[in-house]
């Protein structure tokens, strides 16, 4: 059942990534995916002892992903004056 909870969180994260139009909304979805992975590894940690350590690393990598996402959002806003995902289309030149 714990895996079902993790999969539910993962589903919400996927929905947010696919449907959100603002870049910060996509970052929220990615954070939900990170939380679901951590929950999954912690649940698996009951049987596999390394799961807790990997959950810890997943949480910390989620923080790095958040910082990177917010920096890209700020850059897109400074250049395009919008926080929409459409601003990313012309970011790569």
């Amino acid at each position: 059942m714990m895996v079902a909870v993790a999969l539910t969180l993962m589903g919400f994260g996927c929905v947010a990534v696919m449907t959100r139009r603002s870049f910060l909304g996509v970052v929220v979805g990615l954070q939900l995916l990170s939380y679901s992975l951590a929950w999954m590894f912690v649940s698996a940690g009951k049987a596999v002892e390394k799961g807790h350590v990997i959950a810890m690393l997943v949480l910390l990598s989620g923080l790095a992903q958040l910082a990177c996402g917010l920096a890209i959002a700020a850059r897109v806003f400074l250049i395009k004056k919008t926080s929409s995902m459409r601003g990313l289309e012309e970011l790569k030149r």
């Binding site: 919400f12 910060l24 929220v28 954070q31 951590a38 350590v53």
Partner: protein, 162 residues
């Protein structure tokens, strides 16, 4: 019992984060979801990972609130409903979080079955068995810090926009 309450809080927070329109509300919902996930970890006997989860969730919501205002979503001043919502919603969530921790601590097993549940054991495993993962994570943090600084430089922004 508490693990199911925590799971419900996490799922409700995730649903709120997905379906709300406001970015700041999404950040607050992400915080609620993180609190629920941390409560679940605490119920499983992982105090250290749960506290790390709560700290990271709080940092996330602070960043989201700051960037939501920075990217143009300003609070509407003079609206009484928003005023009370901004005061009562965090207060209510904080009280619920304290209650969740209070009841979850009682359910924490004193002798977790997993040997990796203790703080010292997690630290030992990180610096021995998962040293490469720790190094990769450290390099990733370094690259992110440098990259965020480069992306946010005003000189680069002016050059791109001209």
């Amino acid at each position: 019992m508490m693990i199911w309450v925590s799971a419900a809080v996490a799922i409700v927070g995730a649903a709120w984060a997905v379906f709300t329109r406001s970015t700041r509300s999404a950040g607050l919902a992400l915080w609620v979801c993180g609190l629920g996930v941390g409560g679940g970890m605490l119920s499983m006997g992982l105090e250290f990972v749960a506290i790390t989860q709560w700290i990271l969730s709080t940092l996330s919501v602070l960043g989201f609130s700051y960037f939501a205002v920075l990217l143009g979503e300003e609070p509407q001043e003079g609206s009484r409903g928003i005023y009370w919502k901004s005061k009562l919603a965090p207060l209510g969530i904080g009280v619920m979080f304290c209650a969740l921790v209070w009841f979850a601590v009682g359910d924490v097993p004193e002798n977790p079955k997993s040997p990796a549940a203790g703080i010292s054991e997690i630290g030992r495993m990180v610096v021995t068995e998962h040293l490469v993962s720790l190094e990769v994570l450290g390099i990733a943090f370094l690259v992110v810090v440098i990259g965020a600084g480069v992306l946010s430089r005003s000189e680069v922004t002016r050059k791109e926009s001209s």
